[in-house]
Amino acid sequence: MSEGRKLSQPHLLGIRDLTTEDIRLIFDTAVQFKEVLNRPIKKVPSLRDTTIVNLFFENSTRTRISFELAEKRLSADIVNFSASASSVSKGETLIDTVNNILSMKVDMVVMRHPAPGAPELLARKISATIINAGDGTHEHPTQALLDAFSMEEKIGDLRGRHVAIVGDILHSRVALSNILCLKKLGAHVRVCGPPTLIPKWISSLGVEVSYDIRDTLKWADIANILRIQLERQDLRYFPSTREYALYFGIDRAMLEELGQDVIIMHPGPINRGVELTSDVADSSQSIILQQVENGVAIRMAVLYLLAPR
């Protein structure tokens, strides 16, 4: 225990704002919380006087449970809010909703919202600490942090290593946050998917673009496979999921043919049989469940480091 480093930001709005040192501090803290999670009593009293509201304006299972567990493991008081059961459906604005909640003395807000930039708007208008749990197609910083943390845990330092991000890059906040995070940690990043799902501007982030899944898997140490986000697609970007699976889906036969021990990741939920077959998702090459486990430790670290003091 020592009075040490602190994050350069008062909120976690996106990976874009974080420095490499910030990411290292979050990882170092998460290692200690991971140890806490393996104790008989998986709980510490650090945030027992902190109240956190989880504002979810969009569906979520994993992220919401993960944040909720992280908050409970830190002994915070929590309030859950989902948009469908609230005054939002009566037409209340975001700022009004949040200000009403904050007048009940809430210290931190974890928010998922379908509009890109919504957490940034809140951070400017209100006094509580904001943590972005996904804003539309923009960023999902804690997912990127837990992905990179899981990668380092598996293969060590990411500097100079090859990481592929495969699938729906256009609609994915996970892709953008992942790219920003991995670049800050010094990895080489390549995106791969159908041309319609890879935006033209993506190369401006310093990533390679490929439309060939086999070549990409050959190149990569790690492949982070993203979900095809059918719910965000306002028009058809590829003819059918069957055709997508045929050209970009990864199955055991393909991995064996490549003779490559590429590590497979997926932020979930998986469309089994589309982007990944079950024999790949459940294989020893996949670290999908470790990602979920690390998610709680990473979120504990972020909450601990940003808690008001």
Partner: protein
């Protein structure tokens, strides 16, 4: 920076460590069912040395030794401008029904020990807990906590700072006292 005053130099320092080891042996014999736990970060430096010395004296004993970090249990979390950074906790043996000896370098307000006992409870229910401190600042306690084994007692005003310096970390085994904490490069 004004240098601190040495209150225990290297030679008597070794004698104090030896005395503490023999005091433990007197009570714990071969350390069966006993768990020595150093409190991170500086209590571990003391515990490392005691454990090494105990192994010299009792080569056949099986010592269970671990390190406990109490950062997440501190009650002064809000009083610092920056978050407190945690060190590693490493308790690979079960604590349940063990005789635990907590080890820290300086016993001052007692708050660290209070946090350590709360933390211990999360790992199980030890049969007994004792405390060993190299330095006992007996007039500065904020809580009713007392050490079972002490190296030296130091009577100093609240503002004073006592530092245990270690040969492998700081160049020399000794205990220093400074009039004020900010004069110390920790």
């Amino acid at each position: 920076m004004e240098d601190g005053r040495v209150i225990l130099s290297s030679k008597p320092f070794q004698m104090v460590l030896d005395r503490l080891c023999y005091a433990l042996i007197e009570n714990y014999n071969d350390f069966q069912g006993t768990y020595l736990i150093g409190i991170q970060p500086r209590g571990v430096l003391l515990a490392d040395r005691l454990v090494a010395r105990l192994k010299d004296i009792l080569p056949d004993s099986t010592l269970q030794y671990g390190q406990l970090d109490i950062t997440f249990y501190r009650d002064d979390f809000r009083k610092h401008g920056k978050p407190l950074e945690a060190s590693k906790t490493n308790l690979e043996f079960a604590i349940e029904d063990q005789r635990v000896i907590l080890i820290d370098d300086v016993l001052y307000t007692g708050r660290t020990i209070q946090a350590a006992m709360t933390a211990l409870g999360d790992f199980g229910r030890p049969s007994t807990v004792e405390l060993l401190a190299l330095v006992d600042r007996r007039f500065n306690r904020h809580l009713p906590i007392k050490a079972n084994y002490t190296g030296i007692q130091v009577d100093a005003v609240d503002e004073a700072y006592v530092k245990v310096s270690w040969a492998d970390q700081d160049g020399d085994d000794k205990i220093l006292i400074f009039p004020q904490k900010h004069e110390v490069q920790v």
